[in-house]
Amino acid sequence: MTKGMIQLSDVQTAYEGSALPVIRGISCSINPGEFVIIGGPNGAGKTTLLETINGLLPIVSGRVVTGGIDVAKDGNSVRRRVGYVIQNFSFDPLAPFIVSDVVMMGRFGLLGYGRRPGEEDRRIAEEAMDLLGIRDLADRPIGKLSGGQQQKVLIAQSLAKQPDILLLDEPFSNLDLATRDFICGILADLTRRGCTIVMVSHAFDALPENGSIRVIVMNDGTITFNNTCSASEVEGRVRGLSGRSNA
């Protein structure tokens, strides 16, 4: 059952060249199939936490075990199995990448050097496009799509990896309300199938009121709240922190 498990023990992470750690002494454990939302004001360390879980940033101290693998020892193996949707992206309208190629890139890390995607990889990539409802865009250049469509393509790319853990950084930033609800439905279905989801988001109104989702609130590189709660409660906590940090 370690496949979807994430464990952080007293972790400090810093960007290359930075003197101070961005996240400081974080410890937490996320169980397989859990849906966790990370909130907090700008600069709280939310994206850094995702990149630490994914092994994209060097760990200054502590230990991160993602899917049963120590990320400091074999970050690449972790990244092959963990889906990650980045926050900031922009594509040149003339960029030579069509949607189906971009989604297929989700399979690349699993294939190894010198191996080409096969029939099975194509089928999985097509399934991911079908799930996101972007099959009709398959032959369109990604740079000519709207921000929301591009976001869906990147989510499909991560799903094409068939990940045990899915990390999403502000996945709703370019989406309208209907599409956001549609994506939320897909994510909820993934958790039911055992996929762990950790999502940085400010869209707390998307949370169910029964408080079945775990919320981690971060501020200044530390965790200030880590529990299941309702949307209004977490929104109040984050607003309070934002007010303090802006003061």
């Binding site: 990244r79 092959r80 990448f97 890139m105």
Partner: protein
Amino acid sequence: MLDLFIANNIICRAVEAMLFASIACSILGVIITQMNISSIGFTMAHAAFAGAAAGLFFGVDGTIAAILASLTLALLLGPLSDKARMPTDTILGILFGMTMAVAIFFIAYMQYHTTGVNTSALLFGNVISLYRSDIYALAVISILAVLFVIVFFKEITAVIFNRKIAEASGIRVRPILYAILFMIAITVALSIHIIGGLLLYVWLVTPAAIAYQFCNSVRGLFILAPAVAGTVSVTGAWIGLSYSLPVAPLIAVSFSALFVIAVIISPKRRVPKGVPQGK
């Protein structure tokens, strides 16, 4: 290699050299332009230029000196931008200025002191006095460039698309980047005597920029760019030598003219006509 088709030995060697140099340069040019690291190609070309000039000055084989200089620059680039904590573009700007100054220093010194060394080939290229070994070396590097793209096609495509997404997908980005730098270093060093230090950049950037106007896939770029580069270079070498025109500048101007035409007729830039009202 093409002796069966081209009777004139000088034209034959020039055509072969231009063909192989343009294939290698344009393939790497696709990677350079798509990764927005054109300044790396530019600086590397000038490092080879400086190395070749220093080689001439010290009486060392120009090609070996050029290879050493561009490889040294390739090795320095990563650690230097990490340690200096400055944007890579700033580091490249400084290195470009330095390598250009070194090249000009040696060339000016040799001309001022009339050492009898002909430095014009370094600046503008020379396709007439080529050795068989030069052509074989270019053939090898162009085959290596093609093989590199075939074997690592998916990794290169992912890195070109977005380095962060590629890394998050579990692709080892750093070895791919180092391999690209190594290939550029060797290619520019081997091509510098044929194309010239001042014009080499045209071969690295313009064929890829021409192909970019027509291709909606990376695969298409890797096919069209060398096809364009090879056709223009071979035709240019043939015409240049047949009519006693400077070959490398002639081809460089042809590339630029073709680029302008490509931008004008590019289907990617065409604005779709609006649907007439009432229909």
